[in-house]
Symmetry: C2
Subunit: 480 residues, 2 copies
């Protein structure tokens, strides 16, 4: 197979087999390769470039909110992991254990971090002693390992890349505010940079992070109506502080425990981008994270002046700060169109001899394929406007998807009817607060509780399951 | 211990006990914390910020030379590691083995990557088929694990952060050129961004990377006269390609093996910065990687107008692109001076009521402590000039150290005499090319072969050890 002759192959239709469509895209858009290690993926240059852009934008938001990056060891001694009871119970079944260094058996097993709460706690105990040392607002970019049984690229893998924020505060209030602040940072990032609207909410007791007092999350809705948990923040109270004895002296010289939070998002976000925006021609990338934002395709590039003009346009757009690719390879224009549609490049700019004669070029939006003829005197302005229109457009489309696929239901029959008639989606329904009812809804409808949205509505007086008085509105749904 | 009253404690004198001086600095400049995992370090915010700056600058150089970032799994199945004979022999004794996932024993052990040649090879086999697919110029930023017996922060730890470039080329010539190009990228980076001159050379056969045809290196000289291998590049020929069956079809439709290279630098560079530039007051950071480049200390800051003026200066310097910290805490000026000297901040700008009266401020260089009074009308220009002068100054000082500590010797007695009289350093001496002599020199003088410099000189006709005809000039020395 020669690269320049490679035809962009048909991918499975999104509405026919969403799971296969997803796999086709991650492979054909060159995001991921399979490795010989079960459940671990190779993130290829195009996929990694998306992650680098996500990192850059999120890291900026973290630093603007006062956070600093650190790096903790990737290994956790078994005794350290065991220090917080709920935490170890949650994670022990899914960690990878290192038992040998070289040819020697270790005296204590080390697990490869599934998350780093205990390492941060151990460090905080060393460096925190006074109220003047607080807050500590640390973040770490790294990879973590969870020994999952079934895996899918980006969505669930044994190793994945993520960031984990870990903070320590003087009071419960400060730690709670941090948890809320970072939930907003995530939600703003998803909306503004990934053009993916999310619902902010709190997890139910049964769905909390191991060791947390409260877990908050952002839930996005994919094209197929399934939910994707796109990020979480956890309020720990002083549970970890007590287990690790992390205390500080107040201004009044009293000894108090710190209060902590943690929060994280991962390469899972790339899975979210694919499933929220992609279509039957491939990826549709949000401009803020697209490795290439404008691809320039010279038409009849052998004709005099075409390549020069294309190069001139590319230079100007690069100077204006866009990530630009000029494809002057000898592949056919048709091949190029398909290739960059598969790769989800937001704007395609075509320029040929006739365009040059008419002092214009053609810009095509990836999301709706609308072509606009643009004067060569103002193409920079046009790129700016069309890029914004695309970002707004895919956001609106995702929001529309949520609206169309959100069903308000009063009982289990209504849930089943709604999901059967309209397909998967978010179900809004009231809940009494009992775990028994939560389990029963999931069992009878397949839709689990996604979250208790921060923005509450009262759509009924009684629990969707038992009919007793309601306590919260819950969003239910099937999830990745 | 209250932060604001903490006194900057004396550190061990550099000339009295260099090893202890080093440890004092990494701890007291808040670069590193100890973790409960033997041989693994916590990289604290100030240390990690240096690494982030190194990453940013190197990554730019990599991308400018056409490289793309990827991410490979952190685990390598034992059978995959075993595929290239020399490679496994070199690394097997020092890898950490994962034997269990959750409660289940794995059917095949996985090692935590000590380096990722075999993973890249496995991937290259999948994605390379035609000459059109070449070259592949990939790089990865990650952490790797080597089960070292004795460890020191940054210099040798069981886990460390690094980047590893892995490339595949059509011809031996292309792969060789890449190896040389990246050696130059490293050397330019060390000189221009770390202000640390290095010697470029080739390793002897006995000192090559496991699996390489040739290993090149950059060697820096620390203040105490010991060498630090600061980076390496490896030419693999087609050895890995044959072991992994990585072939491509040429233009003429013939099947050929690819030729490969790899290259890496690590957090070890931070150790190099400390030991090349630091002094008895602490770190001296190269401006390009200093987390804070200018610290502004308001003097008598309670007096009217002082803080406002300090803030105004800080804003202007930030706008000019400098990383600036204004310390308006209630710590004493003396405490602040010591603290930022310990942290190696290149320039300290002092501004007090008298300065304001005279429309001036005082700028103090960290490296030589020279104070300059600067008009408030031109302080931005002054900062720019003094920053460059400091960068040049510490480079020159390091170069001077190499000159003063390079001894040209004709026999083993001369080496011993030079090292005894003048202290450790680089020894220039001719070598016949026999491993026996290389070993004998090390045994009798303590100085091993560091490299065969690319810039050769002929300082004698005969081997420094056996007296037979010489083949190469070698740089010998004790090393970290």
């Amino acid at each position: 197979m020669q690269d320049n002759k490679k035809l962009v192959q048909e991918i499975t239709s999104r509405d026919e087999d969403f799971a296969k469509w997803y796999t086709d895209i991650v492979l054909k858009a060159d995001l991921v390769g399979y490795s010989g290690v079960k459940g671990c993926m190779v993130i290829r240059p195009y996929g990694y470039a998306i992650w680098e852009n996500i990192q850059k934008l999120l890291d900026k938001r973290f630093k603007e909110t006062g956070h600093e990056n650190v790096y903790m060891p990737m290994f956790i001694p078994e005794s350290l992991l065991n220090k917080e009871k709920d935490h170890i119970e949650g994670f022990a079944p899914e960690v990878a254990w290192v038992t040998h260094g070289g040819s020697e058996e270790l005296t204590e097993r080390l697990c490869v971090r599934p998350t780093s709460e205990v390492l941060f706690c151990e460090h905080y105990k060393q460096i925190i002693s006074s109220y003047r040392d607080l807050p500590k607002l640390y973040n770490q970019w790294c990879s973590v390992v969870r020994w999952e049984k079934t895996t899918r690229p980006f969505l669930r893998s044994r190793e994945f890349l993520w960031q984990e924020g870990h903070t320590a505060h003087a009071t419960a209030e400060d730690a709670t505010l941090e948890t809320e602040k970072m939930l907003n940072v995530y939600s703003d990032f998803c909306a503004e940079d990934l053009n993916m609207p999310v619902i902010k909410g709190r997890k139910t007791e049964s769905d909390k992070f191991a060791g947390a007092v409260a877990t908050y999350c952002i839930e996005a809705l994919m094209h197929d109506g399934k939910a994707l948990q796109a990020g979480t923040t956890h309020y720990f109270g002083d549970g970890f502080a007590k287990a690790f004895d992390i205390t500080y002296t107040t201004k009044e010289n009293k000894l108090e425990y710190v209060h902590q939070s943690s929060w994280g998002v991962s390469t899972r976000l790339i899975g979210g981008i694919i499933m929220a925006h992609g279509d039957d021609s491939g990826l549709v990338l949000p401009p803020a994270v697209a490795p290439v934002q404008v691809v320039i395709i010279p038409v009849a590039q052998h004709k005099e002046g075409v390549l020069e003009k294309a190069k001139e346009i590319a230079d100007k757009l690069e100077k204006a700060g866009w990530r630009v690719k000029l494809d002057d390879s000898d592949n056919s224009a048709g091949w190029k169109f398909s290739e960059y549609e598969m790769k989800g490049v937001p704007l395609r700019l075509e320029i040929g001899p006739k365009d040059i004669e008419q002092n214009q070029c053609v810009i095509v939006r990836r999301d709706n394929r609308i072509k606009t003829s643009v004067s060569l005197d103002s193409f920079e302005e046009a790129v700016k406007n069309l890029m914004k229109a695309l970002a707004d457009g895919i956001y609106e489309k995702s929001l529309e998807n949520i609206k169309n696929r959100t069903y308000t239901c009063k009982n289990i029959d209504e849930i089943n009817a709604a999901l059967t008639q309209n397909g998967d989606g978010f179900v809004k329904a009231m809940w009494c607060g009992e775990e028994k009812c939560e389990d029963e809804v999931k069992e009878k409808t397949g839709a689990g509780s996604r979250c208790i949205p921060l923005e509450q509505e009262k759509t009924a007086d009684t629990c969707v399951c038992c009919g007793k008085p309601q306590k919260h509105m819950v969003i239910w749904g099937k999830a990745y």
